[in-house]
């Protein structure tokens, strides 16, 4: 409400001054009483409406559904707002780099966003194609940004089948990658040997909780905060020193405390030790297969109420799967020999850089608590 001060009101042109004056019919002894009654009635009505606000909104939706159709909103806007983790989850999301075309980000998830955008352009039938606006945000903030309505969706090798706190109001598409899971890497051969020996001794399956507890006991184990690896470690691994890191690069760099083992997304860890940190090695079973502690599926995240958008994404993923395109994409990024700067230059997407300086720093690591878990 604007609070006019007297001098400014008096200095207003004549027409405005007249509108501010009290209407003549309200003068008299009954006027204050009537005004009081009207005010009370308004307050009562507002209170009822606030209480039943959701019902009112639902009623509006039923009568006028287009008002909350997120797909139409994207079409009208001409852009889809996509969140991505600024911390690298390669080969799903590579670090942002500079190219001949300017700032770019690339990876399997970026290729998926291109597919989503192309399909949205077809669906919207606008004269101009739908433009993806990528926001590179800290992993842990992706969920918040979506629930606050600043994103239409986000994608960053997010595990759809891992219950986690703070994810109320969100929903997942069908998976676009189903060979995920939690794996581990270490730079110390003795740690790898110790874990291997524990698993060999166990008659249970490799991922059995007791086997893992004894295999990892006493080790300093790093996980990226907010990821499924943290939830797994907290729920299943007792006797470890759990270290929470802001990113995978932070875990590699941590000296205080030094890290014995990093748990994280197995495909990401596998790619990283093969291409970037060859001084670390993936934990493997005697069969040579990677040691997996869980099985995870990666999916696109939307607001829980974005039903149409989610159905649209599921249809698209179904078509991509049936046509073999998803398989090709997975193979291109996980198995082929390539260097991402080149792909970033030819097929990467630009991103909104204004928020990134506040977001990107590989961050730090810290002990989850002061005692062994």
């Amino acid at each position: 409400m604007v609070d006019y001060d007297r001098d400014s009101v008096l200095s207003m042109p004549h027409t405005q001054r007249t509108t501010l004056a009290a209407p003549p019919h309200e003068t008299g002894t009954t006027a204050p009483l009537i005004r009081l009654l009207v005010e009370w009635a308004s307050l009562l009505l507002m209170a009822v409406m606030i209480q039943g606000c959701g019902l009112v909104v639902d009623a509006v939706q039923l009568v006028w559904p287009i008002a909350t159709n997120e797909l139409d909103a994207i079409c009208a806007r001409g852009q889809v707002r996509v969140g991505m983790a600024v911390e690298p989850f390669q080969p799903f999301v590579f670090p942002a780099i500079y190219t001949d075309e300017g700032l770019r980000v690339t990876g399997l998830d970026v290729e998926l966003v291109r597919e989503i955008t192309a399909a949205l352009s077809q669906r919207c039938s606008n004269t101009k194609p739908i433009v993806p606006t990528l926001h590179l945000i800290r992993f842990r903030n992706l969920f918040l940004e979506l629930t606050e309505g600043n994103l239409d969706l986000f994608v960053s090798s997010i595990s759809a089948n891992v219950p986690a706190p703070g994810r109320i109001g969100l929903a997942y598409s069908n998976p676009y990658f189903d060979a995920g899971g939690i794996g581990g890497i270490t730079a110390r051969p003795d740690v790898a040997e110790r874990i291997g020996a524990n698993i060999r001794r166990s008659s249970e399956s490799a991922a059995d909780g007791n086997t893992m507890t004894s295999a990892f006991s006493g080790l300093t184990v790093a996980v990226q905060e907010g990821t499924s690896a943290q939830f797994y470690a907290e729920a299943n691994l007792t006797g470890i020193n759990l270290v929470l890191c802001d990113s995978l690069p932070a875990a590699f760099e941590s000296q205080s405390p030094p890290i014995d083992l990093i748990l994280g997304k197995q495909p990401v860890l596998d790619y990283t030790v093969r291409r970037v940190r060859k001084d670390w090695r993936l934990l493997r079973l005697d069969s040579g297969k990677p040691l997996l502690l869980t099985h995870e599926q990666y999916a696109i995240v939307t607001d829980e109420e974005s039903y149409r958008l989610r159905r649209f994404l599921n249809d698209l993923l179904f078509r991509l799967d049936k046509s073999g395109r998803l398989t090709d994409m997975r193979q291109r990024w996980l198995e082929e020999n390539y260097a991402y700067p080149r792909r970033a230059a030819t097929e990467g997407l630009p991103f909104a850089a204004e928020k990134m300086p506040q977001h990107y720093d590989q961050g730090q690591c810290r002990l989850a608590d002061n005692r062994s878990r």
Binding site: A96, D100, A339, P341, R342, Y360, Q362
Partner: protein, 255 residues
């Protein structure tokens, strides 16, 4: 085809005459002025590339977040490098002594290129200042592509980096550039450039060669065919080989 091979910059400066520029009625510039401006623009882009090259270790330092390589720091180093290459102080361009002839067109365009370059460095800050990421692909070539593109977008003069068999398809030489590059590749290294009128005398083309220096060879040297850090096959080049050229295309009139 008439090709002028200018063996010394001094010769060009001597032939440079004060041009008549008529901005209010359109664009018209004489050849000498256009040629000297083109030469200086090419030198300025070259200086910018050198500044990026000299700061490459800092830019790619994965242990450091804020690098302090700001647009202002870049500008200072660019001005210094350009002064070393040409003797011209860009910070005092309008009070340049008469002994150093700077065409009025150059006085207009050189600061515009500095601004375009600063914009590129400004945009790249989010990538440059990432901690935990080493190679960021902010290298002389990518800086040069963007700075040239931004400058060319707002000017009549087109600036480009090109080479035979470029990594970036947008840097593919046109027929004229390809013929000059082939001609240059057969000649010994020289601090010189090619200048020529095309389009029936309507357009001036200036091609300034760039030669490989040791810092380039990490990515462009031996063994040929091996992938470098950015994923491109190495060219197997040696120090002093022709790396490519900076080309400047100036219309002498626009009607």
């Amino acid at each position: 085809m008439k090709r002028v091979w200018c063996a010394a910059v001094v010769g060009i400066l001597a032939t440079f005459a004060i041009g008549a520029l008529a901005p209010s009625t359109g664009w018209a510039v004489d050849r000498a002025e256009a040629e000297e401006t083109a030469r200086l623009l090419a030198k300025l882009l070259k200086a910018g590339r050198l500044v990026i090259e000299q700061n490459q270790l800092l830019i790619d330092d994965q242990h450091k977040g804020e690098k302090g390589f700001t647009p202002e720091v870049f500008e200072r180093q660019l001005v210094q490098e350009f002064r070393q290459l040409t003797g011209i102080d860009l910070s005092k361009l309008h009070s340049t002594p008469a002994s150093i002839a700077v065409p009025s067109l150059a006085k207009e365009l050189l600061p515009a290129f500095v601004l375009a370059s600063k914009d590129v460095v400004r945009d790249a800050q989010v990538v440059i200042n990432q901690r935990g990421i080493g190679y960021k692909n902010f290298i002389p070539a990518t800086y040069g592509s963007q700075a040239a593109a931004r400058f060319s977008k707002q000017s009549h003069v087109r600036l480009k980096q090109t080479t035979l068999g470029p990594r970036n398809p947008k840097n593919e030489p046109d027929d004229y550039e390809a013929s000059v590059l082939k001609w240059l590749s057969g000649r010994p290294r020289a601090e010189a450039y090619v200048s020529e009128l095309t389009d029936h005398g309507q357009t001036l083309r200036v091609v300034m060669p760039i030669y490989y220096v040791p810092a380039c060879l990490t990515c462009h040297g031996e063994p040929k065919g091996d992938l470098d850090i950015s994923g491109y096959p190495k060219e197997g080049a040696h120090e002093g080989d022709l790396a490519g050229a900076i080309t400047v295309t100036t219309p002498l009139s626009l009607r």
